[in-house]
């Protein structure tokens, strides 16, 4: 089971070509981070994976079904997508109602709803806010509410768009924990991020995009120590990576422990 993007291009109705010949297979159980400059096509690309954008050329196959044949809402049962801005989604008067909303929309049994909400809330660490109006909470926590709502709908793949924006230390730690817990639950996590520390620490596969194309696909070292890719995708090395480079430490160092060891 996998999300397969085959020779897919995407042209917006206004004629703007946003993606050119994208090929990528994301297998179940992987953790993938998509990085690259704004306008590189990252969001358009993931919107293709959940059927919001149907490729104008080529195909996107989610677990054997072609996205062209299904509505987005149907594909959403397999591929969940948390938008960058949680406020485009939240509208219920309590956090609990927000997380439960889609489950009730699908008319799931009460017991099932309870269980799913419990797990989603636990993973996103928002148990303390269940009876509060989500809009009374600060932005970073609203973001977790939006994530919880998608987790509760139990998709096999979850796409997160810029989850670390505005997060503090605790928030970033919660995200890391959530991602590894989701992996244990068998959920594939795909994220778009500008936060390279976050990408390096949590994702074993990094996809770099630039100018409507995928320019590199590999592990963190392959991406960040390839100067050509770094400059084309306009990404920044992590601070430790940068330090290692300036100190001319050999061995493509990205992590603190490695660097300490090598000095």
């Amino acid at each position: 089971m996998a999300i397969e993007v085959k020779n897919a291009s995407f042209v917006y109705p206004n004629g703007f070509k946003a993606l050119e010949n994208i090929n990528i297979v994301i297998n179940e159980g992987e953790r993938v981070a998509i990085v690259g400059q704004n306008g590189a096509g990252k969001t358009t690309c993931v919107k293709m994976m959940n059927g919001l954008n149907k490729p104008t050329e080529g195909d996107v196959i989610v677990d054997g079904m072609n996205t062209k044949d299904k509505t987005t809402a149907f594909i959403a049962k397999s591929v969940g997508y948390v938008f960058q801005n949680p406020d485009e989604q939240i509208f219920n008067s309590t956090v609990r109602a927000e997380v439960e909303y889609v489950l009730r929309y699908f008319k799931l049994p009460e017991k099932e709803i309870k269980e799913r909400v419990k797990r989603a809330v636990q993973l996103t660490d928002i148990a303390g806010y269940l009876d509060i109006n989500p809009l009374d909470l600060p932005y970073p926590i609203r973001k977790f509410v939006a994530i919880a709502a998608v987790i509760a709908s139990k998709p096999k793949y979850i796409i997160l768009d810029e989850p670390t924006a505005g997060q503090d230390k605790h928030g970033t730690e919660t995200l890391s924990m959530m991602i590894s817990e989701l992996e244990k639950d068998g959920v594939t996590v795909i994220t778009i991020t500008h936060d390279m520390d976050f990408a390096v620490a949590n994702f074993d596969r990094i996809v770099a995009m630039s100018q409507k194309k995928i320019i590199a696909d590999g592990n963190a070292k392959e991406i960040f120590w390839n100067e050509d890719i770094v400059s084309r995708a306009r990404i920044k090395k992590t601070q430790i990576g940068e330090l290692a480079k300036r100190l001319n430490v050999p061995g493509e160092v990205l992590f603190c422990e490695e660097l300490v060891e090598k000095l």
Binding site: F91, N92, S93, N133, L135, D136
Partner: protein
Amino acid sequence: MANQKGKIDKLSLFLIPIGIAVNFIGGQIAILLKLPLYLDAIGTIVVAALCGYWPGIVVGLVSNILNAISSPTTLFYAPLNMAFAVVAVILSKRKWFKNFFKTVLSALFFALIGGGIGACITWLVYGFDFGSGVSAMFSIPLHQTLGLPKFVAQFIAETSIDVLDKVITVIAVFGVLKAIPMRFLAKLPLGRIYIKDAEMYEDDED
């Protein structure tokens, strides 16, 4: 608390343009979802319910003025939107929008006012006869086949078209009012009505 009489407080002021835009977008979402409804009074009702008479009336009036830029005859129907604002404030103060059934019931008021004032305006503007547009499609058969007087036919036509529209409208209003965050309500003239357990916080001086 936050406002003096006759003067619009600062936050309400900034809510007015949003209310106006919502009036427009409501209809556009209806088109997006292919719903055969206008849904163009949500902004007026929500702003009126939260901020009071003046802000609500301004939202109604300006919505019509802006509409007039592309279809000037809508200008005549401005009193309609303004009346919605007044009714919304009265109902809001009586806490109708806190109860789902009362809210749905209120759609009937809005539809009657819409139909009543709407028919009067049509009557006046169109030289004491039928208007043009959707309502004419219903009012003329009523007049022709049942032999109802023209004004009555126009009134019935406009009201019945309005009922479904206003039911959806007030349900949306209900949902929004329920979900407005407390920190925001605290700053609005009629916001206190919608704060859960408002009294609980009032008396404890620390």
